[in-house]
Every structure is written in C-alpha cells, then in structure tokens.
C-alpha cells in the first residue's frame, strides 16, 4: 500500500494505492490519525477493500464527526463499490462520485 499525504492541501488529501485490507489498515490509520482538519481520502488507486478497510473508513468518519471536520471518500472504483453496496454503507459513508 502506498500512502501519499498532501498535508498542505485544504482539505488535506490522502491518496491510497494498492489494497486496503486487514493487513494494510494499521498503516493507513496511523497515517491519518496524525492529521487534523478537513480530509479527502482518494481511493482511485485502491483495487480491493475488505471488511477491515471498511471498518477503518467508518472509524475515520466517526472521528471527523466528533472533531467537527469534514471527511469525503473519492475515487471509488466500480468493482470496489460492491462492498459498500452489500453492507449498505454506500448511503452512510460520505462517498463522493468523481
């Protein structure tokens, strides 16, 4: 997993590339936990998300709500959209079509 931080952008932009699975979640959470402010998570380079990745997105969203900041998920590929649909979180998480 490649994690690219654009900390000087407003909102802060984080690009992920690779797999967002149970093994990669700790690294992503560690990178994002250090950030504060409005956040865009760009998943256009992500080819696979499992339930651990999904849970991490829920955690990031909750943290943003608690902090009063905005959070948006962009670039969800068609094949990755499946996991959001079957868990019915596509209408819960802040997924933005690009």
């Amino acid at each position: 997993m490649r994690i690219e931080l654009h900390e000087h952008d407003r909102p802060i932009r984080v690009e992920l590339e690779g797999r967002f699975d149970a093994h990669e979640v700790p690294a992503v959470k560690a990178a994002i936990d250090d950030l504060s402010g409005d956040l865009i998570l760009d998943l256009s380079g992500v080819a696979f998300v499992d339930s651990s990745g999904l849970a991490a997105l829920v955690a990031i969203d909750r943290r943003a709500r608690e902090a009063g900041t905005t959070f948006a998920i962009t670039g969800v590929r068609d094949e990755v959209r499946l996991i959001f649909e079957i868990t019915k979180l596509d209408g819960v998480l802040p997924i933005v079509s690009t």
């Binding site: 797999r19 093994h23 499992d50 999904l54 849970a55 909750r62 094949e79 499946l82 079957i86 868990t87």
Partner: protein, 160 residues
C-alpha cells in the same frame, strides 16, 4: 468423502501461513486460478476474493490458526471455494452476522460472506475447520426486496 463434497476435477489449492500479510498473495492466487475460464468478470473475481479474504481473516483473528488452506474450482454455475484451517473449532452456522446499513467499526465480515456466497460448513474433524463457499457466477441484484445469496433457501447439503 462423498461424491457430493468432492471438489471438481479442475481444482487448485494453496496453503499459506495464517497471517494477514498473505492476503495479497491469496488474491493473486485466486485471480490466477480463475483467469483460465475467460468468463471470470472483475465483479466475480472481486466477490470470490472478498469471500476468501473474509473467511481467511476470520480464521487468523478469531480461530488462532497457524495454517490456512484455500482451494478453488468451478462447479456448474458457481465458483467453489474451500477454506480449511487448523484453528479452534468455529461454529460458522451458529454465528450470527452483524446487521448491515449501520456504521460500526467491525463485524461486517460474516455479513459480506453470507451475502455473496452460499456457505456449507463441514464438520470439524482431525483438528481442521472446513467450510465450502459457493459464489454464483451471476449475482442477483437487489431490487425492492432482499434477494442476495444469504436470503436464498439453501439446498440440503448436510455437513460432511
């Protein structure tokens, strides 16, 4: 083993350490194995990999397994996955899946697997958990009422 639960003749199998760092190679194994029938669409590959990954991670995290075996083949209109692990006995049939549609930080794995596959848990035997998961080539698309694999009546394929 009965003919009912014998894997199809074209069957590939890998055995890996029970470590989530193996998920990447597991995905590559599945894509390679299913690449030969050219009808394996990106959607099907994603569903198969999701089911395998969730069952694999479940065995690693909740079953304290040390090794996991994953077999894959095609039978009729399904991709047949067989996941075996040497962890603690796991009552898959008796474990409820968490509800969908509500945000929480975990517990989606079994709901995902049950939505995408028909599960046939086999009897814990010789220290091995075994589950067969049948992922249909064509996915039923939900319309007004739930119609996923989890809601279909499962055929009577008793645990072996």
């Amino acid at each position: 083993m009965t003919a009912e639960d014998a894997p199809p003749s074209r069957w590939e199998r890998t055995r890996v350490r029970a470590d989530t760092r193996e998920l990447r190679d597991l995905g590559a194994f599945l894509r390679d194995a299913l690449d030969r029938p050219s009808e394996a669409t990106p959607d099907l590959l994603m569903r198969v990999e999701l089911v395998a990954a969730e069952l694999f991670t479940n065995a690693v995290r909740h079953g304290a397994a040390s090794r996991v075996s994953v077999g894959v083949g095609v039978r009729d209109d399904d991709v047949w996955l067989r996941i075996e692990d040497d962890g603690r006995p796991f009552d898959l049939a008796g474990t409820p899946a968490g509800p969908v549609g509500e945000p929480r930080e975990g517990g989606y794995g079994l709901a995902i697997v049950r939505e995408l596959a028909e599960l046939v848990p086999r009897r814990y035997r010789d220290g091995i958990n075994r589950v067969d998961a049948f992922v249909p080539f064509l996915r039923e698309v939900e319309e007004s009422a739930p119609s996923g694999a989890a809601n279909r009546r499962e055929p009577d394929r008793s645990a072996g």
